[in-house]
């Protein structure tokens, strides 16, 4: 129709669909910008009217409050910016560990759901169906108040032969601490690792050449372990034992020494792991089931065992289907870690909301918090997309 009209040569632009489409897009953009500008303007005038104009200068002021657990040096004399950094690191810690463990459990349970063993199959199904359908916040509060706070008190701590203690103030585990010989030994350790790596590489090459792949990583590891053990004694002879075990013990009101995990961390960590692993299990199951039956039958026909079939044939192909939804589970886990505030774990959001109250900078702190989570999510997604591309290339 347009053609016919344009043949006459006198179609005004407002009746020309090509122009109209462009104009429509321009108008939509203008309207969106206008709405956005109006919202921001409204916010800024509102804050101005209250006598608290937007400013990020408060970040340099003294925080004046203490934080229960921190991976860096922090005290009440630190700045608000440092307090936010403490929260940020705590968020990274729980998200990273959460992702690792949730993936591990998720894969195991996902495979278990497909097991032919009736009990294993049903247990996995119950795990997934029960945990996937409980709201995470409810589950977290349950973990905090009914599990971790109800562990034995410090005085009657559950002890595992003095190596680990379970109390409602936290979990304490024996942990190696560097001692006199450490300065020498760390170089030995590095050397052992390099040699182990080289051995593994050589074995890998040999395997490529001969077509019979040896357990190259086991070779590397054994070489590393043997060397590390021998050099330990050398270091001990030269400068005393490189490390000693730091046993936790009850000193005063609390346990000291060893490695400790607070109940707040344990609550948010286990909550996130269990909840997310239920979803990951479903993703894994779907991925495995997406591999066609012929593949499995062919693997059986050439004589591969059940485990080999899974490891060599099914799982590599399932990965292609698994990775994209897995990415969104990782993003969910990271975002859900902001629920830490409900169980008293000082993550970014918890520290941020304390600052909102003490410094009165709600808009600024929320903007920072949103920016950080957005950055996290985009980075995770970027990495997973890269990995996705990587596995696809290998596969095809």
């Amino acid at each position: 129709m347009t053609f016919k009209e344009s043949d006459h040569g006198a179609v005004p632009f407002w009746r020309d669909e090509r122009y109209l489409q462009i104009i429509a897009q321009v108008i939509v953009v203008v309207v969106l910008i206008a709405i956005g500008w109006w919202l921001i303007h409204n916010l800024l005038t509102g804050l101005e009217a209250l006598g608290i104009p937007m400013s990020f200068k408060f970040l340099g002021l003294t925080a004046q409050f203490d934080i229960g657990e921190s991976m860096i040096e922090y005290s009440r004399n630190s700045t608000y910016a440092q307090a936010l950094l403490v929260g940020l690191l705590n968020t990274i810690k729980v998200s990273f560990l959460g992702i690792v463990f949730a993936t591990l459990f998720g894969i195991i349970i996902g495979i278990a759901r497909l097991s032919k063993n009736w009990l294993v199959n049903k247990l996995a199904a119950i795990y997934v169906e029960a945990l996937r359908n409980i709201p995470l916040l409810v589950f977290l509060i349950f973990l905090s108040t009914s599990v971790f706070h109800k562990l034995p008190r410090v005085q009657n701590a559950l002890s595992a032969w003095g190596w680990a203690y379970l109390t409602n103030r936290g979990i304490y585990v024996v942990w190696p601490q560097p001692a006199g010989g450490w300065d020498v030994y760390k170089w030995f350790l590095l050397g052992s690792f390099i040699i182990g790596f080289i051995v593994a590489a050589i074995k890998f090459r040999e395997g490529k050449k001969t077509g019979r792949m040896p357990l190259y990583w086991l070779w590397g590891f054994v070489v590393f372990a043997v060397l590390a053990a021998i050099t330990w004694f050398i270091a001990q002879f030269m400068a005393g034992p490189p490390m000693h075990l730091d046993f936790p013990s009850l000193q005063g009101r609390n346990f000291k020494g060893g490695k400790s995990l607070t109940p707040e961390f344990m609550a948010i960590f286990t909550g996130l792991v269990i909840y997310t692993s239920a979803f990951i299990a479903e993703v894994v199951r779907a991925g495995i089931q997406s591999v066609s039956k012929g593949q499995r039958e062919a693997a059986t026909a050439v004589g591969l065992s059940g485990f080999q079939t899974m490891r060599l044939v099914i799982f590599p192909q399932a990965m292609r289907v698994i990775i994209p939804p897995l990415t969104s589970q990782y993003l969910n886990l990271t975002k859900n870690s902001s629920l830490a505030i409900a169980v008293g774990y000082p993550d970014l959001f918890a520290v941020g909301s304390t600052i909102i109250n003490q410094a009165g900078r709600a808009v600024e702190v929320i903007l920072i918090t949103m920016g950080v989570y957005l950055t996290f999510s985009l980075l995770t997604s970027l990495f997973m997309n890269w990995y996705n591309k990587h596995t696809r290339l290998v596969e095809r």
């Binding site: 407002w14 009746r15 669909e17 109209l20 104009i23 429509a24 108008i27 939509v28 203008v30 309207v31 206008a34 709405i35 500008w37 109006w38 303007h41 409204n42 005038t45 509102g46 101005e48 009217a49 209250l50 006598g51 608290i52 004046q64 409050f65 203490d66 934080i67 229960g68 657990e69 005290s75 009440r76 004399n77 108040t145 706070h149 109800k150 008190r153 410090v154 409602n168 103030r169 000193q251 005063g252 009101r253 609390n254 000291k256 109940p263 707040e264 505030i341 409900a342 008293g344 000082p346 918890a350 909301s353 304390t354 909102i356 109250n357 003490q358 410094a359 009165g360 709600a362």
Partner: protein, 377 residues
Amino acid sequence: MSRKLLVVLLVVLLAALALAACGGAKETAAPTEAAAATTAPTATSEQTAAQPTEKPAQQEGEGTLATVKARGKIICGVNQAVPGFGFLQPDGSFAGFDIDYCKALSSAVFGSPDKVEYRPLNAKQRFTALQAGEIDVLIRNTTWTLTRDTELGANFAPTTFYDGQGIMVRKDSGIKTLADLEGASICVSSGTTTELNLADQMASRGINYTPVVFETADETTGAYLDGRCDAYTTDKSGLVARQSMFPHPEDHMILDETLSKEPLGPVVRHGDDQWFDIVKWMVFATFQAEESGVTSQNVDEMKNAEDPNIRKLLGTEGDMGAKLGLDNDWAYNIIKQVGNYAEIYNRNLGPDTVFNLPRGMNSSWKDGGLLYSPPFR
């Protein structure tokens, strides 16, 4: 096809134009003022006309009093978890010392104590709620500090309760003084002055401790009772109130040391002096009534008292109410319906309650306390 598109486009264009017009209007005057000038010319046009480039007085564009009257009720930000001060009872109603001040404000404005909507807030939400205009007044055991008075955009009415921060421990813990808390975990609610005082006091005394920070008072005491912490800290009045709810109150004790000054009182937003005045004098009326011996029992007789101060307070003489923008019997209503300071105190915290808190500093200046009302004249 293209005609349909054209219609859609026209609509969008019109909407854009309308929006652009709104935007244009805002550049010449602040948005709320523009709105106020059109919707309520009688109330605020003088102010707007006088200072067209000034910032709007408050978010609603009208005075809080006008907003409250139009709404028919006061929205009062309160606590729901501190017995004696602000507590949500099993039947769903609120009760406590702070709640009675919400009622007193309602009596002053509406002549009835029930025109209040209670908005339970936790320690962190309260200032944001106040700043955003979600509540008209915050009466939620809130400590008056310089930062809050300035940066948080809050105005503090006279202190209704002089408090101080204390620490509660288990009796069998062997903790007797602050110094015994070395290495201890201490449960504290987040976003409170308590959290800051604790950090300040422990730092100045060089005591190492681990703060365990929870969102609400219920979570905090729950964790303390479970043994997660060696000690629990909040204002002493709060400690007493909480202790009364513990399963075994006798197993706990409050250390003698006081960590801070905690003057608690009602709070309003910056920028509405009339509303601020009303809240201030509502509090003073309860002080003055106790000082002059006016109670809810004898207030009707007292209306005809000889003492000109009492006559002015109760509106028999002068026009004190009109000066505040209220009815002349505003203070009469407060005393009649809610009571004077002593009545409010005794009802919620006094000898007949489980708390039995001594009045101490919270006595009239005539009895050696700190409660002192400027003259009603």
